[in-house]
């Protein structure tokens, strides 16, 4: 592939300027680029706090944290800074696919490991995969594919799809359609950042769908769910976990009750270490951990597990150590596929009320040992 040789050329050219990184004396320098200000800061803060919680009490990691403001150009600049000035060994932290696409290819081309605690764009799982890139969260399509599988098993026949008109939205719906065997009655792509869904809800009401499956991240999902509850339309609602995570449920409230959503983690997941993680996180930060916090936590655990086995300066050995994924994930069984993306169970969760708190409860497994479909295109 020609792309490969270009990347190799970039690697060689940049290696000349990015001076040799060594001599940390058993310590490993981690650069975390994440979103700590602006509208999307909640996710970045959770990833950071989860990561720091896992690293707490250990002196193995030397962590540099910077705020990307959810802007790709800032993220690129910070990556350059961490590689060129801070001389970090490993990068992590990015929340958004578009920022990951801006940073990851050039970071791995410069010979740095990158561990993704959230975003998993398909390009990085397929043709653009790299031996130095490990996704500790999910490939972007995973929750959607699991949603489609669960729908097949639960007598859902006619689905109305809705997502924002941008790559993550379109990819998500494509993922659902890949596994779902019933009928798609309509697909609607809304404006990114749209806050009023009256028009879409009217369309849904008029359709003969039995279920709405949607992906609307952040404020968009909050707006939709509140307006949905006020519309009185009686159809099943499903989606990936991103619209129903703890931080968001607090803002939607009871309007979200009964919604089914897919995720690889929940705070009530009964696997070793999870209850302790949830408790420790609450003790440390005074709030419930989110899925992002869990991913940040796992990312740090993975990194420290590999450090016990290999030196980061021995790239091949360190890569192999990471690949083993020899750590106790709060998600339970966790392994890497050949494209360094997770093989893991995806659960179906339902939004319920526990006391005064609206939260998620696991109701079943949507997909066992799920991995993504892009691995075949990955040649490393």
């Amino acid at each position: 592939m020609k792309m490969k040789s270009l990347v190799a050329a970039a690697c060689m050219a940049l290696a000349g300027t990015a001076a040799l990184a060594d001599g940390h004396g058993g310590k490993l320098k981690v650069g975390m680029i994440t979103t700590l200000s602006g509208g999307g800061a909640g996710l970045g803060i959770d990833v950071r706090d989860g990561f720091l919680l896992a690293a707490k009490g250990s002196d193995m990691l030397d962590i540099v944290i910077e705020d990307d403001q959810q802007k790709p150009d800032i993220a690129v600049q910070l990556a350059d800074k961490m590689i060129q000035s801070e001389k970090v060994d490993v990068l992590t932290g990015i929340i958004w696919s578009n920022l990951a696409m801006a940073v990851v290819p050039s970071a791995t081309a410069q010979g740095k490991f990158y561990l993704s605690p959230n975003a998993g764009p398909s390009a990085l799982a397929g043709q653009g995969c790299s031996p130095l890139y490990f996704n500790v969260a999910w490939q972007n399509d995973a929750f959607y594919e699991a949603g489609g599988l669960w729908a097949n098993d639960n007598d859902i026949e006619k689905v109305f799809l809705m997502a924002p008109n941008y790559p993550a939205g379109i990819d998500g719906m494509t993922g659902f359609k890949r596994t779902f065997e019933g009928e798609i009655v309509n697909e609607v792509y809304t404006k990114l950042g749209q806050t009023d869904y009256a028009a879409e809800i009217a369309q849904i009401r008029a359709s003969d769908a039995d279920t709405v499956y949607f992906f609307l991240p952040g404020g968009m999902g909050i707006s939709f769910m509140k307006q949905w509850a006020g519309s009185g339309v009686d159809k099943n609602v499903m989606g990936p976990a991103f619209s129903f995570d703890q931080g968001i449920l607090g803002a939607i409230g009871e309007a979200a009750l009964g919604v089914k959503n897919t995720a690889h983690w929940a705070k009530d997941l009964d696997v070793p270490g999870n209850a302790e993680f949830v408790q420790a996180f609450q003790d440390e930060y005074g709030r419930l951990p989110s899925l992002y916090a869990a991913q940040g936590y796992d990312t740090a655990l993975l990194l420290m597990s590999a450090m016990g086995k290999a030196d980061v300066n021995d790239q091949d050995a360190f890569q192999a150590a990471l690949k083993e994924a020899d750590f106790q994930s709060v998600r339970g069984d966790f392994a890497f596929a050949d494209n360094h993306h997770p093989i893991q169970d995806i659960y179906m969760r339902e939004v319920v009320k526990e006391g005064d708190v609206v939260t998620n409860k696991i109701i079943g497994v949507a997909a066992s040992d799920h991995s993504d479909v892009y691995g075949a295109e990955c040649k490393m």
Binding site: L6, V7, S37, N98, K191
Partner: protein, 327 residues
């Protein structure tokens, strides 16, 4: 020499000197940071022609910055994947050659400026501000929802484009290239302000009736200024995309347009080196303040507010005196 001339010389030399120091100290990231400031300065120098000399407060210049960025992104993307840009009755190949990319960036942003300007310049004052802002948003939403070139994800270009005889991936060499362009544009803008066109444009800002009465049409003067201004900002956009090896719709965002105005006002409105001083100061603030607090933008806001309210004339105005140079 006047104080402003001395200050301009110092500002101008500050960038290459700082870059050389960074090279000597083996801090290549600082060179990248200076390059970033130089590119922002170039974008704001472009806007300053319309805003400072022409009095046209455009809150939509991010549109041209973004178009320049996408000119680079689209051409390089096609060159990288060996697919033609247009493949119908005419076949147009992508390219990795910077000069060609720059030309395309300049021409396409100039055309966009012609269309936006022809509509917006029918109005003035607050209308003009709001309309340019709205057109900028139009491009932003279009870039996000148009799927062909990555939509919101943007486009990654894995290696910088080529310039004959240079290794553009070397921070110092890329900086030198950007600095040369900035110098050339600054030189031209300095000349332009004193050329017949500059005099007429500046007179049209001060008194449109006067310019009409001597037989010159202010609308055409402003439109041409807007087009040149958009083209320069577009060129900066192409360089910015190359600096990051990445282009995305955030280049079109209205905050970007706001930041360009911030550079100009921080540095000093209507001064040739105002945007340069402003961009350097802004990048420096960003670099120094963001580690201090998660809420560092509050400080930026406060500083900006103080400058607008109490330090009119910006950095250069405060250091070199209020008088704006003429002739």
């Amino acid at each position: 020499m006047r104080r402003e001339t001395i200050l301009n010389t110092l500002l101008y030399l500050a960038m290459p000197v700082a870059a050389a120091l960074a090279l000597a100290l083996d801090e290549p990231f600082l060179i990248t940071l200076i390059t970033r400031a130089a590119i922002f300065a170039l974008a704001a120098v472009g806007l300053n022609l319309a805003l400072g000399l022409g009095g046209l407060v455009s809150l939509g210049h991010a549109a041209f910055f973004g178009i320049g960025g996408y000119a680079m992104g689209i051409l390089a993307h096609h060159a990288q994947t060996y697919t033609p840009v247009i493949d119908s009755w005419i076949v147009l190949e992508g390219t990795k050659s910077m000069p060609v990319i720059w030309l395309v960036a300049i021409v396409s942003s100039a055309l966009a400026a012609l269309a936006i300007g022809a509509l917006s310049l029918r109005t003035s004052g607050v209308y003009f501000i709001m309309i340019t802002l709205a057109f900028g948003q139009m491009f932003y939403y279009f870039a996000i929802s148009w799927p062909a070139y990555g939509g919101e994800d943007g486009l990654s270009i894995y290696v910088r484009n080529d310039f004959p005889g240079l290794n553009t991936l070397d921070p110092m060499q890329f900086f030198a290239l950007v600095f040369a362009i900035l110098s050339a544009v600054l030189w031209w803008m300095g000349r332009l302000a004193r050329a017949p066109f500059g005099l007429a444009l500046s007179a049209a800002r001060q008194n449109a009736e006067r310019v009409e009465t001597v037989g010159l049409g202010p609308f055409r003067l402003r439109l041409v200024a807007f087009v040149i201004s958009g083209a320069v900002t577009g060129l900066a956009g192409a360089l910015f995309a190359d600096l990051n090896r990445f282009v995305s719709p955030t280049m079109f965002s209205w905050q970007m347009s706001g930041e360009f105005i911030v550079f100009i006002v921080l540095g000093g409105v209507g001064r040739l080196f105002g945007p340069v001083a402003g961009a350097m100061l802004f990048v420096l603030l960003e670099h120094l303040l963001s580690p201090v607090s998660d809420f560092w933008l509050i400080y930026v806001g406060a500083i900006l507010l103080l400058v607008v309210l109490f330090a009119r004339g910006g950095l250069i105005g405060s250091l070199a005196g209020r008088e704006v140079a003429h002739g």
